[in-house]
Amino acid sequence: MNNRKGTFSRGLLNAPYVIWSLVFILIPLVFVVYYSFFDLESGRFTLEYVKIFFTKPMYVKAFGISLLYSLIATAISLVIAYPFAYFLSRKKPASQSVQMILIMLPMWMNMLVRTYSWTTILEGNGLINNLLELVGIGPVTMLGTGGAVVLGMVYNYLPYMILPIYTGMSKIGQPLLEAAEDLGCNGFQKLKRVIMPLSLSGVISGIIMVFVPSISTFYISQKMSNGKVVLIGDLIEQQIKEFWAAGGLNRGAAMSFVLMLIILLCTFVMNRFTDDDEGGMII
């Protein structure tokens, strides 16, 4: 009796989340899958739209560039975030929270605004080029390059790398590090044998949280490259926005679907690296 009542009230508590997931996650997903395989006009099943992704050079190239840039951005973020998170986690609690706020602060501002402001820094007569001219180095083209796109990705998503790594690091208690020293570890061995294994699940989370939005972004590439670098996200946006009726919705859905499968595969592979019982799984 009690048990049944318990499950009922628990069910009631869960209801809002279940409804939310249904309306905003599951049903849209079903639509994406549906439009990937069923023609909008005729309603017939077709593999044509999914095939485009692998056959049409424009799409293959866009996907290749997206993958390359997001991997580079993820790698750079990791290189910056890892030592930063470590040193942050070893500071006094008070200065830890201050620095944490400093990291979070830009995220309180709209991402579009932040990205747009970078263009004024990087453009031909922007801040950096003005400074360079002062020392006699001619204007350098920065905006519109792949480098600028990667910069935009790193800048926007770096906090998502720092946060999970920092959380993992701050769980490594001082006694564990002292135990490592006590047992003969110098600084490097301590890093290799204790800190790295114990922060691995945070690193995996960070990689996924930077890689996924980077590979599917469209706004960053549009602003930072003036439309010169076309990522897969740009193509999806373009198809849906400009060619809605002429099969664009189908192509957009199919690309989203394939991209989603690839991301799922990547995260699945990444998660193999962590312990199953560490609780660091994203999927």
Binding site: P175, E178, D182, L183, N186, Q189, R193
Partner: protein
């Protein structure tokens, strides 16, 4: 097993955190093969001393010597000591075997040799069957054993133990005390053990170092510490003590409560004021007319193998332990044999301990606080009355 030469020497060690002195000009030497215990309440500096030896804290002043060589600047990973941490600090990402093997792997030992040594060590602590277990699937006692094995497998010259038994329940703690003592005898390694539990200290150690306020109060064997405490702090901290103001009349003669007693102590100035320690179990209860002192029983508690009573002698509350029951309010006589009396020089702790009107200083403070609070309320009430008029 205890050798003559010192393995560790601390000279004039001073440590302070944020301007607060934690260790105050501390001098200490520890012999090779000794089982030494640092005993004191929390905040007395015992763990800090341990961490200075391990190398996790470098002292503000003073020198640390190991085997005659100054090691102030030697980092922890190069010192020939290993530590068993308060909460064990086992590595959660490694199983039992790999935890124990950790130090050997870092040292670059060959795999088959590591396997042999680790298994031998797990045998010593009765954990061989658990080699492949994850740390968080072990009980507290098992984790404790793994921690011991992890430290000992490196063959340290000195093993530092930071309150290692504090987290265990009473019976397990007793077993682990015996086990640690056995391991220490078997290996001959110098053990430096930190605890706040006086019983643990007395039953395990060759030498006890009693600490308070960052200073060493007394160093000695357990029996010496118990029978001949150096000051009122030590007498009160180790076991129960009645500490009474006395005056040394002559060698072997002391006056307390207006009466002269024979004792075994000498070497004090004539008429020197002293602290007199008398242990509760050393006081004999007799009929009032036969007693050297007479008093009234103000409370009695059954303790199993004896009765513990508080006897009021002219306002000073004595604790007496005896096997015969007395009624509360009964007049009794007390007899104290010369060998039950221990004389101590006056110290800054004189008058702070040894009266059993209350058992703990905390109780004293609570009573004092309650009294002040009552006074305050009365005052407030009086003022309100005035205001009403």
């Amino acid at each position: 097993m205890v050798k003559e030469q010192n393995i560790i020497e601390l000279h004039n060690i001073t440590v302070s955190f944020d301007g607060e002195t934690v260790l105050d000009d501390l001098d200490l030497s520890i012999k090779d093969g000794e089982f030494v215990t640092f005993l004191g309440a929390s905040g007395c500096g015992k763990t800090t001393t341990l961490r200075v030896i391990a190398g996790f804290i470098s002292p503000d002043h003073g020198d640390v010597f190991f085997d005659g060589a100054r090691i102030n600047d030697l980092p922890p990973h190069k010192r020939q000591v290993n530590t068993i941490f308060q909460r064990y600090a086992l590595f959660p990402h490694l199983n039992v075997f790999d935890n124990v093997a950790f130090g050997l792997k870092v040292a670059g030992m060959k795999k088959d040799q590591i396997k042999e040594k680790v298994e031998e060590m797990l045998e010593l602590v009765n954990m061989r069957a658990f080699a492949q277990r994850k740390i968080h699937n072990l009980s507290g006692g098992q984790q404790q054993r793994v921690a011991i094995a992890r430290a000992l497998v490196n063959n340290p010259r000195v093993l530092l133990l930071d309150e290692p038994l504090a987290a265990l329940d009473y019976k397990l703690r007793k077993d682990m005390q015996n086990e640690l003592k056995r391991i220490q005898r078997q290996t001959g390694i110098t053990f430096i053990f930190v605890t706040h539990d006086q019983e643990e200290a007395l039953s395990m150690s060759d030498t006890v170092v009693v600490m308070n306020e960052g200073k060493i109060q007394q160093i000695g064997s357990p029996t010496k510490i118990y029978n001949e405490p150096e000051n009122a702090f030590v007498a009160d901290f180790i076991g129960e003590s009645n500490i009474i103001d006395g005056v040394m009349l002559d060698d072997f003669k002391v006056r307390l409560d207006g009466r002269a007693f024979k004792c075994l102590d000498k070497g004090f100035a004539v008429n020197e004021p002293v602290d007199v320690v008398i242990r509760p179990e050393d006081v004999d209860i007799v009929s009032p007319e036969k007693g050297e002192l007479t008093g009234e029983v103000s409370s009695i508690t059954f303790k199993g193998d004896y009765y513990e009573m508080i006897v009021d002698v002219c306002g000073f509350k004595w604790m007496v332990q005896a096997t015969d029951e007395q009624l509360v309010g009964a007049k009794v006589g007390l007899v104290i044999e010369p060998d039950a009396i221990h004389i101590m020089k006056k110290s800054k702790y004189s008058g702070m301990f040894g009266d059993y009107s209350t058992f703990s200083t905390e109780m004293d403070e609570m009573e004092e606080e309650a009294r002040l609070e009552e006074e305050r309320l009365e005052e407030e009430a009086a003022q309100e009355e005035k205001g009403d008029e």
